[in-house]
Symmetry: C2
Subunit: 681 residues, 2 copies
């Protein structure tokens, strides 16, 4: 066999014709199953992880996070809210925010995917136990919410801007989709139909022309339509998407319409803005509508938004959201490393959008961003045992101080300490459902018979192709090592096409087929020239040597710094690895010194800066400091960003200043030091 | 006469003994009149401005801002809230935030100082008209608040954390102090006594051990004690200061105790943190307590907080508050120019603290910071006609877009457009009271007979010394020009000591006495060696040539940039002054090219950067961009920061990148461009 390049589709292909009626069978055990187009992700039960990076994290999710979430929601009364509604005892004093029901539903979605992957009876029992309590709180007409519409509580839909009722309903529907695809029709799926039908009655063409302040119902109804085959739900999702952007929501003091994506219609938007999770959930739903309704104009707008946002408002980690204020996107080039919000949920939401755009277009850049986000946002948030989490994922930590409490509800985890639970605790359950369904994003089938490997992990990938079964065994310790061995264990008669993703960072990638010569391959899609057959062995080399990565000069907050990456991993410097007596503030990286791999991190060369003596009583500005570093140098240890603060609170930075001799070279001579206290005082 | 240096007091001098019982006379027509210590600011009626920078702004305050504030508070019903309480018709629907009463009181304080300075009968009538309405809303027991304690409203003191009741009472008391000192005992001062007495009954040693979520009552009670001579008020202020920092406030979701300065006692605090205005108002009150109670430990702690905060958490403009989130201080070195909050009110509050520390210690650095803040925060906020304002004062504006509405209540002025009024409209009235009393901060008397000039403006300064009257005429166009002529028009028999402030930035300053030789003087205090007598002429030269100012290398957000200052003015680049076809994103300043003065701004040399081509579909990071600028160069126009956006919305930056050849010099050679789409896609 020899290799040949494959040309990927153009930037804005229309979705293909409907290739199959969206089936309500267990075969499509995946969160996203478009009604149109040629690509589908594998089911969560079609990839078995053997070991390695994602296996470790999925196991921690299974053994740690799922039960942890149940325990905390029990402890805080968020689950008992359903019991109280069922018993008619809900009143003014209801624990949890107005959206706490959604955490229960996101956890149920996680349990459903977990069951779909593992068929673990205990997981199923946990799911059923939650169904008992949730279903008991349903009103006669299908309305289900523990915060609104009960005695002593605000009325139904009395606060669409901030009430999150449709948001909660959306997460219930996403859990119902997961249940339907992993176990089939049951009482929870039937409950989901009643909840969805209630939404249609209230907000349909003849109903209230409102939208929810927090998008989510859109993407949920779209997928519920796909899972049930009932297109009324898709029509309703489309209605919600189209209503938005015309001032549909009641203004809220101190929150602009932009916060809610309500100042401009989705199809007229150039870049994502406002609250990051809201913007991305809405975009995910809009992609679903664009695909299923064959709305190429809308799909093109969403692709443009993705490109513009990724190019100017996205961190090296894939993190999105530059502002703590309003948990929002910043302006173009506004990417502060220290105050990067990069909410874990925005990482989840970014995966949702990129995955849908990949399925819609087949373009590799969407999957590249997913890998970046998976390794550097999704993998960063949870602790190794899956029971503590980062809410925000900054790229720089200035102090070791933290007021995170180890066994308490925290405001937001800052200061480099993962917290067990949050006042607004959206991230743990969002991670849970994402990690439980990781398999679905790892590989795809295109045009019914092209097997596509998107993310590399040791294990077995099973592609159910139109021509038969392709079983691919993958051996690798990627991303720690460069080599990925793929062995074809079963293949359809006559072989079948295989497509591999070569990440955009993989310069000098090579492939060796069946022990033949090494062939250089370029980033993008690599299509094997000949169909693969049982026994074929493919050795893919994606060099994970450490490399310097420079920020665009328009990113003011990163000027004069450089980062180190290694394969898909962003690296960082932690204060524990800096020699005693030196602070992170005074370290520069020498970009001319070689970088070398070290464990799963790297080593470079640090030089220590002269810090200027500051004139007392003046702000920290004055004459040019010496640009020359001191003579002190040391080996700079860089560790994967996803592991930061695992050894305890630390100061940390991803972008390290570079020694800089030139910028002050032209300084005007000064007779006296500016701002110094004069003798005459 | 020849000159001799004067040695200023050490860093932590104890306040001197009580030199005079705080009198309730009209002689101390000044906002701050400590019960102990040797220094007093001049009265607002002791300096007459003739022309120039501050005269222009004070006139705009008189003719524009004062009536503008009355009009807006009438339009929005904030004034009518008092009428409704008086009529017993207040109910659930009350316009304005819970603290809107305070805006009325801050305006009344402004009117009182304005009357004290001008004796304008219309100003007095406007004040009396407001007293009519405010006084009618007083409850029988001296409680006065339109938001709490009425039918349909929350109960008195039912929300100390966020209710702002004591905050409002504090601003009423500051207005009463101004009235007492500018007109004497009257019905409003009597009302103030009843309000203060109510606070003492409710929160005294035998009462509720609470504090207000927003400090202000502390500084107000302390001054009310000074103005009335009733030390019970000071004792209560002290109680409030000492209670704080022990978790006195009920926790609020998503707001940490640090936000309220309630996690650590004032005297144990190392640096200001949390909400900037809260922190600074509290510090101002604590200085008053420390001085009047002769608490040297507390005073020393506050001086340390000032030094630490100024050295690490203060912008070049003097602005404080690095975060929009929680309107708060950031961590040390966290000083983003684009997201600088630098609330106008924090600038006012910073003046309050620095002024009190100058009076307490005599150290020049406090006055230096005041000059910086006056010219670059206070003068930046209002429009030339005093009817529109910046709420936040960032040092960089990335886009010209703004959603500020010209005749409406705005959320916060962003996008480079001053707004007429705000939803939370604390800044206009805070500016009004500060500008109305500018005179009091411009000069002081030390030890009863040393006249001290602190801020230079054309006009007449009248020092009432123990030995007699010193009248000093000042002719200058400072800060536009370097020369300041001081003529002694009257002096006590035998002459009197004169002390001049030489700003910390004034390298190569000179003084010429009575046409004698020019003598070099150093920044700090300059004491004339011999007493000044009638007819003496002093020519002070503070060179306002443009100069480069470099950020401390620990300020990550400003690395690789430089600012230009001119005298006390921070300059900036606005997009209107950049040649067509060039954006602010691609401009660098050549630090080796000479700067030259140009009007009230400067000119330097700009070079235009190569902007890198970005790999599509990837975040804005990759291989090193070319560090070499293009061959394009042009004259870079720099204008005073306080004038930015006066010509309409603009992109703006204070810190301009410098061309930087060295930082990428050691780049590793790359075989292919990282992140580029390969041919094989």
């Amino acid at each position: 066999m020899t290799t040949s390049p494959h040309h990927s589709p153009g930037p804005v292909p229309a979705p293909g014709p409907v290739t199959a009626q969206a089936p309500a069978s267990r075969r499509n055990v995946t969160p996203v199953n478009p009604a149109r187009g040629t690509r589908r992700g594998l089911g969560v039960d079609q990839v078995s992880l053997a070991a390695g990076f994602w296996k470790t994290r999925q196991d921690a999710n299974s053994t740690g996070t799922l039960q942890h979430c149940i325990d905390w929601m029990e402890r805080l009364g968020w689950l008992a809210n359903f019991d109280r509604v069922a018993a008619g005892t809900m009143d003014e004093n209801r624990p949890g925010w107005q959206f706490s029901d959604s955490e229960v539903y996101k956890l149920m979605e996680a349990l459903a995917w977990e069951y779909g992957r593992t068929h673990d009876a205990q997981v199923d029992a946990n799911f059923e136990s939650l169904v008992d309590r949730v279903a008991a709180a349903e009103d006669d007409d299908g309305y289900l919410n523990t915060c609104f519409g009960h005695p002593g509580r605000p009325g139904r839909y009395s606060d669409l801007s901030m009430g999150h009722e449709l948001y909660c309903a959306g997460h219930l529907l996403q859990a119902a989709v997961a249940r339907l695809r992993t176990k089939g029709e049951d009482r929870f799926v039937a409950l989901g139909r009643r909840v969805a039908d209630h939404v249609l009655r209230e907000f349909g063409p003849e109903g209230h022309a409102g939208v929810c302040g927090h998008p989510e119902i859109e993407v949920a109804l779209a997928e519920f339509a796909r899972a049930t085959g009932d297109t009324r739900y898709r029509d309703q999702a489309q209605l919600f998407v189209e209503r938005r952007g015309h001032g549909a929501l009641t203004p809220i003091p101190l929150l602009s319409p932009e916060y809610f994506q309500d100042e401009i219609p989705v199809r007229d938007t150039e870049t994502w803005h406002g609250h990051a999770v809201r913007a991305l959930y809405l975009a995910a739903g809009a992609v679903d509508i664009a695909v299923d309704a064959d709305d190429t104009e809308l799909l093109s707008a969403l692709q443009g938004q993705w490109h513009r946002t990724v190019a100017r408002r996205t961190y090296l980690t894939g993190g999105m959201g530059s502002r703590h204020q309003d948990e929002g996107f910043g302006e173009d080039w506004e990417l502060p490393p220290d105050r990067a919000y990069c909410e874990t949920c925005a990482g989840v939401a970014s995966l949702m959008v990129s995955w849908r755009l990949y399925l819609a277009t087949g373009a590799v850049e969407y999957v590249d961003l997913m890998e970046r986000t998976l390794f550097n946002v999704i993998a960063t948030s949870p602790s190794p045992d899956g029971t503590a989490f980062f809410y925000a994922n900054p790229l720089q930590q200035r102090s070791e101080s933290s007021d995170v409490l180890p066994d308490a509800v925290n405001s937001r985890a800052e200061g480099g300490v993962r917290a067990p639970w949050f006042d607004v605790s959206c991230c743990p359950t969002n991670l849970a459902r994402t990690l439980a369904s990781w398999q679905s994003y790892s590989a795809a089938v295109d045009e019914g018979d092209v097997a596509v490997v998107l993310q590399y992990a040791a294990g077995e990938y099973r592609f159910e192709l139109s021509s038969g079964l392709l079983r691919l065994k993958v051996d690798t310790t990627y991303p720690n090592a460069s080599e990925i061995h793929l062995t074809v264990q079963d293949a359809p008669d006559g072989g079948t096409p295989l497509r591999l993703r070569v990440p955009s960072w993989a310069i000098d990638a090579q492939v060796i087929i069946n022990g033949g010569p090494a062939t250089s391959i370029q980033p993008g899609w690599f299509d094997l020239q000949h169909p693969v057959a049982q026994g074929d062995e493919i050795r893919l080399v994606l060099p994970v040597e450490p490399r310097l990565t420079w920020p665009d000069p328009r990113i003011d907050a990163m000027r004069g710094t450089v980062a180190v990456e290694r394969g898909p991993l962003v690296l960082c410097v932690e204060s524990q690895d800096v020699p005693a007596g030196i602070t992170l503030d005074e370290i520069t990286l020498d970009p001319s010194a070689p970088l070398r791999a070290d464990g799963d991190g790297a080593r470079g060369r640090a030089k220590v800066l002269h810090l200027p003596a500051q004139a007392p009583g003046t702000p920290p500005f004055g004459r040019a400091p010496s640009g020359e570093p001191t003579s002190q140098e040391f080996d700079l240890v860089l560790v994967p960003y996803h592991r930061w603060a695992e050894r305890g609170p630390s100061m940390m930075r991803v972008f390290v200043p570079v020694a800089d001799k030139a910028s002050h070279a032209g300084e005007h001579p000064r007779k006296a030091e500016r701002g110094a206290r004069a003798d005459g005082q």
